[in-house]
Subunit: 242 residues, 2 copies
Amino acid sequence: MNKLYVVGIGPGAPEDMTLRAKNALEDAQVIAGYGVYVDLVRPMFPEKEYLTTAMRRESERCRLAIDAACGGKTVAMISSGDAGVYGMAGLIYELAQGRDLEIELVPGVTAALSGGAVLGAPLTHDFAVISLSDLLTPWEKIEKRLEMAAAADFCIALYNPSSIRRADHLRRACEILLRHASPETVCGAVRNIGREGERMELMTLEEMKNYSADMFTTVFVGNSQTRVIDGRMVTPRGYRDV
Amino acid sequence: MNKLYVVGIGPGAPEDMTLRAKNALEDAQVIAGYGVYVDLVRPMFPEKEYLTTAMRRESERCRLAIDAACGGKTVAMISSGDAGVYGMAGLIYELAQGRDLEIELVPGVTAALSGGAVLGAPLTHDFAVISLSDLLTPWEKIEKRLEMAAAADFCIALYNPSSIRRADHLRRACEILLRHASPETVCGAVRNIGREGERMELMTLEEMKNYSADMFTTVFVGNSQTRVIDGRMVTPRGYRDV
């Protein structure tokens, strides 16, 4: 049976990968993915065949991987974080429909979790994950999700908070959240999670309006209970011995 | 410096742990946690000292771990999944406040990701994670979060969908979601993720009202775009080559 692994490699460092992910990459003859992520695993597996395409050529990249697997090679398609969270997993299923292929998904640590661990424990209670990229989603839908998430007092992880084309998205998001959340809400941002230059910052929601995020930043918004404890962002679950 | 690791071990199988988690457990002299999770790692590290307490004695368990670490032993406190998602990370920060202790969080693959990978790709777009346990959260708050999540067309992962004490919570949750979501919304459930007896089922939101979940089940509710492709639950991101 032709075999295609779809692998989430985590934030980047080899040790943030699961053992299952490492085994899948070892088993694969071909590793496919976006250049930046392929470069993260290439030093671990220099002898593999690699398939890469440019940023945003996701469909092309998935088709190359599916074709290589259907041609008889064991292929691992990699995403950073988890392949099921804004990753390639969905697209692989769409494009592989009806092909003679066994698809195995290998989950990984997405930025909400890896970035959360850098900040402390921002997502200990119910949370929402929202991407601020409107490349593939109408901005009105993103606004609605921000508004509802704040109204329901969710903790929030914001992916893709900014890019050159949409430098003001984070500010606009903060303004929507402020309709329901206090300006003093504890927020955090993590850059280059698990990679060289990792950096975390804490701020209030009001301050975040003017925060300069880039495309390697993940942003966290606390709920009404989130506090700063010893320099960390902590959302209490409210555990007690009941 | 006294050292306390707070480690998410993933769904259960040793290979679903990250290499960083494995290294932390190797480095620790003492491993603390709830009995069921401790039993998952004990075969890998039979020579360690173990500290366990009964279910729900979370504060006591954290205090034991903090005291052991402050007494000079390297301690790893483990949670299943990710320690930052309904796990011990927040409580450790609260109880360790002001103690002479270096805390290192090691993220892991939470059930939204590991269960998602079993079902296909249910969370490829914006999603919310909600626990249906009202032990530590008023049910009204849970209802509000369900209602807002459905109104905003989030994909949803439901943790703790049921227990003996609250057998009807999943039905009540479905009824709230149905105020905004179609009865035909694609849903899925995964039991015993990554462990013996793993089993996944697909159903509609209407059918899920009568689904018998147990405390080892994680439930997934699609958004309005989620489809079934080749027997898998797939939420399209809407990728195209732009």
